[in-house]
């Protein structure tokens, strides 16, 4: 995929739309639908008659090679194939933010990201944020400020917040934090404490 041509909010260039539009090169190499016999002969193996795509990405700093159905989302691949279950599925359609991860340092919704688009990219999940036992400042701030209750939205909130500060330069006011964190729903409504946590962690991170 040609990253230069990606623009707008989905700057990482790994949205489903970009894959379907710009990703046809990959589809041409590994036909999406092919018969069982052909598949055996073809370079790309098939599962259930669907040619699999080989994804080579760095996940939380380690090289990962995984063959996936071209339709598999990054979210399902992380959770079901790579056993990284810290990333949560709250809606599976880009409406809640629970599945937020980083691709090349940018926050993306992994439920709207095809795994196949992440080859050559760095994927970071909540499991990759802490430095061994040392929590990332954002994680630490969420604990200290009680920026969570049930915790289900929390991995997404934290990944979103970290990229908001690191990749997007942070927020200059509480209102800006609120605005820029509004893609992450928290039904427990820890919102005010999430704002406190981000305000604090941002100081440490900057």
């Amino acid at each position: 995929m040609n990253q230069e041509h990606d623009a707008g909010p989905g700057r990482s260039g790994v949205s489903r739309r970009n894959f379907l539009g710009g990703g046809l090169v990959a589809a041409a190499v590994t036909p999406l639908l092919t018969g069982q016999a052909e598949a055996k002969a073809a370079a790309a193996p098939t599962v259930d008659g669907v040619a699999q795509v080989t994804v080579r990405a760095a996940v939380n700093g380690s090289p990962v090679t995984v063959r996936v159905d071209p339709r598999a989302t990054l979210l399902d691949t992380l959770r079901e194939r790579l056993d990284l279950k810290g990333t949560k599925k709250g809606c599976d359609r880009g409406q809640c933010g629970a599945c937020t991860v980083h691709v090349d340092g940018r926050r993306v919704l992994s439920c709207l990201t095809l795994a196949a688009t992440t080859t050559g990219r760095e994927v970071t999940t909540i499991e990759g944020l802490a430095d061994g036992d040392r929590l990332h400042p954002m994680q630490q701030a969420f604990v200290e400020h009680d920026g969570l209750q049930c915790g289900f939205c929390t991995p997404g909130q934290i990944m979103s917040a970290v990229a908001m500060v690191d990749d997007e330069g942070g927020a200059d006011s509480d209102d800006e934090i609120r605005e820029r964190m509004s893609g992450n729903i928290c039904r427990c409504s820890a919102y005010p404490r999430i704002v406190d946590a981000i305000r604090d962690a941002q100081q440490v991170m900057r």
Binding site: K89, Q149, C150, Y191
Partner: protein, 754 residues
């Protein structure tokens, strides 16, 4: 010496696990040879299934089973007796009858979740549809039946010589009458329901989010036709409850029955869309409140009637006047009445402040209208009508500091400078206004709760009880209460919850978890300390061998007496014991003769855009009288979260029931709106921290070895939600002069009148 953490800010014991993604929710568990299920749901609201064609799904890759209604392979049974009210009244997938739009009609099981989902889309169903009953206005109204606490849902108390409530109203100087409507609301816990069922012989282990683990497992056993002890339910991390995880829905029995039939573990995860029809909602309802008062605003008559839906499969009995209009204000004439209309709509369930949130919206809006009609300040009006005895029963409260909530809240918020005249504060395109309302929520103490305390030879303790932590902080509460009772630091206490192998725990419902749990933890600690002393005087290698227990004193984890002092860990090591444990007696009811409620006062400021009608909440202060506070940090979060539910109630949340089809119109988070960060200002919450001297038993006088500092608590999961929507609506009135009685207050309801 450790100081007690009770009432201070304590980080959640599971905070680290939650911020690192290591906390495992039901859908995160795996099992060898796991198969994956996906449901197909009905597209009519009432009728029968005439055919289900599974052929395409069966031919689809990886598919192991297509179960289709009426399905004979799944063994599911009626739930009877007490547990019957704890689940739906039909056997999922067992008959061809469709009872609501979005009911499970087929289930595909496949090797992978994707295969199951894809194949489910290939199942075709044909129906013989009948017109659904969908209108609470048009369907016959019947009495709602007893309230959740067993009180009658209709009640009339008249002053001597008064013939009827209508007569009492007619005789009042000032009368306010208002009708309120709200649509269906949904719990929307962020974790969609997920179930993993693993059989081992005739034993099944279920991973599922459940607010009341014990009864949930009991109903499950009956559904599966097995003994209660054959079901183990693990519900350690739960992604929000709010009422949707109280009863046994169709999802868990279907997953477990499929796993049994297939001979493999099965995982079923509901989609967000399915959550809207398969896991309950708050009923839509209409309420009419009539208040009669003197010109000074002193109430002479209160009447509160409601009509709500009653789904056919399982229903939460909606009695919105219960614990609101029948409890809040002193009045010589009181009339409450709750009716329902049977509809073909998905099952309903209690949702945060189930009766009280809608009830208080109606009553507290009407009180604001009375304040306007009489010219009495809203705070003054409420203080003037404060009840000192419970209006419906005449009983005193165990603890009530509502007047202090009003006064402190008014002071913190700066209520005094308020203009009662609408539309007096304009700033550019924004109209500003302020409003207030009262919060009230009953405190029920559930019987039968048991806690167990283990003392270990490494000077740590384990406190166990099968309650559930939905994000409430109950695991941390258990640790703090245990630490206070044993006089040791919280870090040395491991709480164990969320597993039916543990002693029966408190239901995580009705704001009752905390006050049902703490006395049992204290009692178990008391018993284990007695056991420790008994061991100290009987064990051979103990320095106190042969002494009398009266010679020993336990203090802060250490036994003292006769010139010796040993920590309990040291003593256990010395006598060669790895640990000892004791359970509490099963918890009972509080002493009779009192009513128990928590109280609060909300104050808020909104701004409404003059041109678009958009409403933003700009300031919010809540003062809550919730008894003893165990963990100020988590308690504040609970109250703040409750208030934000009120913001959703007032401004955002509704699902329309389509009258023709019986379909709930919204089924995603893009069309059912819940508050997001930008909708929420900072929320100022204060807790009075006044221990309730009755609800959890005598408070303790410091004379015992066991610490009693956590007694006197009341739960607080719901009180923030009650009344907060009314405070916002009242502020909108103050800003605009427009009274909206049909929530949510969306801009279309304002824009034509601005």
């Amino acid at each position: 010496m450790p100081r007690s953490q009770v009432g201070r800010d304590t980080d959640r014991v599971d905070g680290r696990l939650k911020v690192t993604g290591a906390a495992e929710y039901s859908g995160d568990y795996r099992a060898a040879d796991l198969a994956h299920a996906h449901l197909v749901t009905s597209t009519i609201a009432r009728g029968t299934i005439t055919s289900i064609d599974p052929a395409a799904a069966l031919a689809s890759p990886g598919v192991l089973r297509v179960y289709a209604a009426p399905e004979s392979r799944l063994a599911l049974y009626e739930v009877t007796g007490q547990a019957a009210g704890f689940t739906e009244n039909y056997l999922p997938l067992k008959s061809d009858v469709v009872r609501f739009h979005g009911q499970a009609v087929a289930m595909v099981v496949a090797e992978t979740p994707e295969q199951a989902r894809d194949a489910a889309a290939l199942v075709t169903v044909t129906y013989d549809a009948q017109p659904p009953r969908t209108s609470i206005a048009d369907e016959p109204h019947v009495p709602a039946g007893p309230t959740i606490s067993g009180a009658p849902s209709s009640l009339e108390i008249l002053a001597p010589g008064v013939g009827s409530i209508d007569a009492a109203l007619a005789a009042s100087d000032v009368v306010v009458e208002a009708e309120f409507h709200q649509n269906v609301q949904h719990h929307v816990g962020m974790e969609p329901h997920a179930i993993l069922a693993v059989w081992d012989g005739d034993q099944v282990t279920i991973h599922a989010g459940a607010q009341i683990p014990g009864p949930y497992a009991l109903a499950m056993a009956q559904r599966l036709g097995i003994l209660p002890q054959s079901v183990r339910l693990i519900t350690r991390y739960v992604g929000g409850g709010f009422g949707a995880r109280v009863v046994l829905w169709s999802d868990t029995p279907l997953a477990a029955a499929a796993a049994r039939e297939l001979g493999r573990p099965v995982r079923l995860v509901l989609t967000r869309e399915q959550m809207f029809t398969l896991t309950g909602h708050r009923s839509h309802l209409t309420q009419t409140v009539r208040l009669g008062a003197s010109r000074q605003g002193v109430l002479n008559a209160v009447s509160h009637r409601s009509v709500a839906e009653r789904p056919t499969t399982i229903a939460f009995t909606m009695t919105p006047a219960h614990s609101t209009s029948d409890a809040l204000y002193r009045t010589p004439n009181l009339h409450v009445d709750a009716q329902v209309a049977v509809l073909d709509i998905p099952g309903s369930r209690a949702m945060r402040g189930p009766n009280e949130a809608p009830g208080a919206f109606a009553l507290e809006t009407a009180m604001d209208e009375l304040a306007v009609a009489t010219g009495v300040d809203p705070v003054t009006l409420r203080l003037r009508n404060q009840a000192t005895a419970h209006p419906a029963t005449g009983l005193p409260w165990s603890s009530k500091h509502l007047d202090e909530c009003y006064r402190l809240g008014a002071e913190r918020f700066g209520w005094a400078g308020r203009s009662a005249t609408p539309r007096t504060r304009v700033d550019g395109q924004w109209l500003y206004g302020t409003g207030m309302a009262t919060a009230i929520y009953p405190a029920h103490r559930r019987a039968g709760v048991v806690a167990r305390v283990r003392l270990l030879d490494d000077d740590t303790a384990v406190v166990s009880t099968a309650t559930s932590d939905l994000g409430t902080g109950s695991a941390t509460m258990v640790a703090i209460s245990g630490a206070d009772a044993l006089g040791i630091p919280v870090q040395r206490v491991t709480p164990e919850i969320g597993d039916t192998l543990l002693p029966p725990g408190a239901p995580a419902v009705g704001s009752s978890g905390t006050h049902a749990t703490v006395p049992m933890v204290v009692d178990a600690a008391r018993n284990v300390i007695a056991e420790l002393k008994r061991l100290a005087v009987t064990a051979d290698r103990s320095p106190w061998h042969g002494a009398a227990v009266e010679d020993l004193r336990y203090e802060r984890g250490i036994l003292h007496g006769l010139g010796h002092s040993l920590t309990f860990g040291r003593l256990l090591t010395t006598i060669g014991s790895p640990g000892i444990y004791k359970e509490s007696a099963p918890g009972g009811q509080p002493v009779p003769g009192y009513v128990h409620h928590s109280f609060g006062a909300h104050f808020c400021e909104v701004r409404v855009n003059r041109f678009t009608g958009e409403t933003r909440v700009t300031r919010f202060t809540t003062v809550a009288d919730v008894g003893r506070v165990i963990n100020a940090k988590a308690a504040r979060s609970q109250l703040v979260g409750g208030v934000i539910f009120g913001i959703g109630h007032a401004l955002l949340e509704e699902n329309h029931l389509e009258l023709d089809t019986g379909r709930l119109a919204s089924s995603t988070l893009a069309d059912y709106l819940v508050p997001v960060n930008a909708d929420v200002p900072d929320i100022d919450v204060v807790m009075l921290d006044r221990p309730d001297p009755v609800l959890t038993g005598p408070l303790g006088d410091g004379s015992e070895d066991v610490g009693t500092g956590s007694l006197g608590a009341r739960g607080l999961g719901e009180i923030g939600t009650v009344g907060s929507a009314a405070a916002i609506g009242n502020a909108v009135y103050n800003a605009t002069g427009i009274r909206v009685r049909d929530v949510p207050i969306t801009l279309d309801k304002l824009i034509d009148h601005l």
